[in-house]
């Protein structure tokens, strides 16, 4: 296979990029309210506890995109600001509520080099403290050529 930089060669993932350093987040009701406002998400299950309970949830629930933002933050914490996320997708598996400790972690699954650029594929997960998987995600990250 080739791309605009030349042949794509599968390589070993550099050791420092293999594991995503765990990131623990503890969302609050205030954070959920602000995130809904910033993303124009008017759904009351994210800021109205009574409504959320009517809908069968224990409390207001963390937005799907906030789960993804936590995982993205964990990813950037390991790969660094100079790397570029070129693909990101996710699935929500279980709901989370304010006050829960959510742990984000992940690992590289493969890497390929094209020219001087290195592309690494990652799988990521966010777990709650009761051991339930809240969100699974996948991402591709491109590291620029060394200066």
């Amino acid at each position: 296979m080739t791309d605009e930089r030349g042949p794509i060669v599968t390589v070993e993932v550099p050791i420092e990029l293999r594991e995503i350093r765990p990131l623990v987040k503890e969302p609050t009701r205030q954070q959920l309210f602000l995130f809904s406002a910033a993303t124009w998400n008017t759904h009351r299950i994210h800021y109205d506890p009574d409504y959320a309970r009517e809908e069968g949830h224990p409390d207001v629930i963390v937005q799907s995109h906030l789960h993804a933002s936590f995982l993205t933050e964990a990813l950037v914490q390991t790969v660094g600001e100079k790397a570029r996320i070129v693909r990101f997708g996710w699935q929500n598996r279980a709901v989370a509520v304010p006050g829960e400790r959510l742990t984000c972690r992940g690992r590289a699954t493969r890497a390929a080099r094209s020219g001087d650029a290195l592309r690494v594929e990652y799988e990521l997960e966010e777990w709650n403290e009761r051991g339930a998987l809240c969100t699974s995600a996948w991402a591709s990250v491109v590291f620029p050529a060394p200066a």
């Binding site: 759904h43 570029r84 990101f88 699935q91 929500n92």
Partner: protein, 93 residues
């Protein structure tokens, strides 16, 4: 484990997004998107957005039939170079 839609509901049991009076016609949800970032989006760039319907399928949920619409949205710059491609699935009853 069954994937949830973006409001925390199992994809097979989608309930309405609260944007107006609840009705069967308004029963819509989303599956979180898969996004590809081709190039950085600079402040002030003129964006051209094109959405196309890639697929339509029917799924049988526990509470009845669901329609899954797969949309592809491409955000391009003023010279039509793609910046972001987003694949989205909308679920409707």
């Amino acid at each position: 484990l069954e994937p949830l839609n973006w409001e925390g509901v199992p994809a097979s049991e989608v309930t309405p997004v609260e944007v107006g009076p609840r009705s069967d016609e308004a029963a819509i949800g989303h599956v979180p998107p898969d996004v590809e970032f081709h190039a950085p989006v600079a402040d002030g760039v003129e964006l051209r957005v094109r959405s196309s319907l890639e697929d339509v399928s029917l799924k049988r949920g526990r509470s009845g039939g669901l329609i899954l619409l797969t949309l592809k949205t491409v955000y391009a710059d003023g010279e039509d170079r793609p910046l972001v491609t987003c694949s989205d699935t909308i679920i409707a009853r």
